[in-house]
């Protein structure tokens, strides 16, 4: 099946739940789905023998706080699916709100989602429902905050020892504070 055919079929079945779908100039199929129909779509993609999307390549989150502050949804989750038998490739986008960003787990469809979904919680604080072992993955347990959020400070410079009593730890928040630009 061509990407265009898959796109038309999905559009026909899921109708209004598909907020946006297109085949890009590079020939990649991209679909944006509403979060309430998301699990249905993923199960359909996995189980439809014509598509055979049986391989999950990766899952990632994006925080659009700085890029587009007026965006209706602050967060986006991206799923990249391939077929091991056919030459199919689809990228599924889901928008999540700023307050209680919740998404169902796809672990029972692709077990490879285990780590990436834990990473979503760890790095972005998304609540992944029904994941069998949901806890922090990379950051230590008890860590506060979710590092890949755009409003998470880049680093906290702890000054271990100083002769100057006025020295205070410095909080670096944005790129302007970091001064990576030697010409600025």
């Amino acid at each position: 099946m061509t990407n265009e055919e898959i796109r038309e079929q999905i559009e026909a079945i899921f109708e209004s739940a598909i907020q946006h779908s297109k085949v890009t100039a590079h020939g990649e199929l991209e679909v944006r789905v509403a979060v309430d129909q998301f699990l249905m779509l993923m199960a359909y993609l996995k189980q439809n023998r014509d598509y055979d999307f049986d391989y999950l390549s990766h899952i990632t989150g994006v925080d659009y706080l700085d890029m587009d502050p007026d965006r209706e949804f602050r967060f986006e989750v991206v799923y990249e699916l391939f077929s091991s038998k056919k030459d199919h490739h689809i990228r599924v986008f889901v928008d999540l709100p700023e307050v209680e960003p919740t998404i169902p787990s796809v672990y029972h469809l692709w077990h490879g989602a285990d780590f990436p979904e834990r990473e979503l919680y760890d790095m972005f604080g998304f609540i992944v429902m029904d994941h069998p072992n949901m806890k922090r993955l990379i950051m230590p347990e008890g860590w506060e905050g979710h590092p890949l959020l755009r409003d998470y400070p880049l680093t906290v410079e702890e000054i271990a020892f100083s002769h100057n009593p006025d020295h205070k730890s410095e909080l670096i928040k944005t790129q302007e504070d970091v001064k990576v630009d030697p010409w600025a």
Partner: protein, 400 residues
């Protein structure tokens, strides 16, 4: 276990929890796994990662595109050129670069395949060492040293080459370097035979690897394994063939596959991959085209160094690129490539500025760890290190 009144040890439950790592020589970096043991049999294995977390994805959001390339080296530090390539291909896709000069692609291919051989040599040496064959380790290191010398010749650095840049490569190959690669290509096949003579029919090696850590094709796909693990389970999936990038379609090579999906099959697949990589390098050397080694569009790649003294335009382009960097159009892209361990790719979101908005690495080791722990269930404790070795994890790209 608790101590009873009689002073005898008594088991509280049927299983024993055993901690392995992170400071363990056979976990290939700082990987920790908590094993639930029933006697000598592993009941379940719980991975624990994050000890090597350096926040590279967060750092990349605050750096120029060109500054990100040296950081990609540090992800999979055993085959850096493949990470450089995956990053650069994605940025080029966002920039709308259709085609690179042929010489640039060929030099990229040579570096990547040298990187793959180097990485597989480290895997072979340490994997054999884990199982108890010390000699292979020394042999493999001997040949890897040649690759590191070649890296140093062309990029000035032995490991973190950062040789592949957006729009081409950093420097043109010198005749001395090409001679060095040619010597390596001629020298290497006999050495692979030598490793095979030590291991392939070695009864101890067969005992320790055959039928252990088995994964069927369906399981491997379900658990998102990639690269040699997938191919050892019988699936012919290689991004160099499936979606050729960097002119891989111009080379003749085979994708080795095996059917059983055990540790021994992964060994066979990787050893054969070393031979095929050597084939690719040989063909690339034979057919290396002349011409530019990077894009001549100076809005993307730096102008040649010697023109800076004679051409005002080159000087301006150089200044702009170094001080401000390349501005990448708004959008997102992902390009899957075949690294030494499997599918390597960067998902990059650009907001139209000179710094990436979001950089996500799809790392084969990271995706492979849950499947690896699945393999450990039901295995003997002694096989745990063999299974870890056969997946060939690199903690740099797991923890990022």
């Amino acid at each position: 276990m608790g101590v009873t009144e009689q002073g005898l040890l008594e088991r509280d439950k049927d299983t024993m929890t055993l901690n392995m790592g992170p400071q363990h020589p056979s976990t290939h970096g700082v990987f920790r796994v908590v094993l639930e043991m029933d006697g000598e049999i592993v009941k379940s294995a719980e991975p624990d990662i994050g000890f090597l977390h350096t926040g590279i994805e967060k750092t990349a959001e605050n750096k120029r595109y060109i500054h990100c390339i040296p950081m990609t080296d540090r992800l999979d530090y055993l085959s850096p050129p493949q990470n450089n390539l995956a990053f650069c291909l994605t940025v080029e896709k966002l920039l709308g670069v259709k085609e690179l000069p042929a010489r640039a692609d060929y030099l990229r291919v040579i570096m990547c395949e040298l990187g793959r051989i180097g990485s597989h040599l480290v895997w072979l040496g340490t994997h054999a060492l884990d199982i108890g064959a010390m000699t292979v380790f020394l042999y493999a290191w001997r040949e890897r040293e040649m690759i590191l010398d070649l890296n140093e010749m062309i990029s000035g650095v032995r490991m973190m080459t950062s040789y592949i840049r957006v729009g081409g490569v950093a420097k043109d190959a010198t005749p001395e370097w090409l001679d060095g690669v040619r010597k390596f290509v001629d020298y290497f096949p006999a050495k692979v035979d030598e490793y095979e003579s030590l291991l392939t029919n070695n009864p101890i090696w067969l005992d320790r690897t055959r039928g252990i850590g088995t994964m069927t094709k369906e399981e491997a796909v379900l658990w998102s394994m990639s690269g040699p693990v997938l191919r050892a389970s019988g699936l012919n999936w290689d991004w160099r063939k499936r979606k050729p990038y960097s002119r891989y379609d111009e080379f003749n090579f085979e994708i080795p596959t095996q059917d059983h999906g055990d540790i021994y099959d992964r060994y066979l697949v990787r050893v054969e991959e070393m031979r095929q990589s050597r084939e690719i390098i040989k063909q690339a050397l034979d057919n290396l085209p002349d011409g530019p080694y990077k894009l001549e569009d100076n809005k993307i790649s730096l102008p040649p160094r010697d023109t800076l003294h004679t051409s005002m335009e080159s000087l301006i382009h150089h200044f702009k690129l170094v001080s401000d960097g390349v501005k990448v159009p708004k959008g997102s892209a992902y390009v899957p490539t075949e690294g030494a361990r499997g599918e390597v790719g960067f998902y990059i979101v650009s907001d139209g500025s000179n710094t990436p908005y979001r950089v996500k690495l799809r790392a084969p080791s990271f995706m492979g760890i849950p499947g690896m722990c699945k393999m450990m269930e039901g295995a003997f404790i002694a096989d745990v290190v063999a299974i870890i070795g056969s997946i060939d994890i690199v903690m740099g790209e797991v923890d990022r």
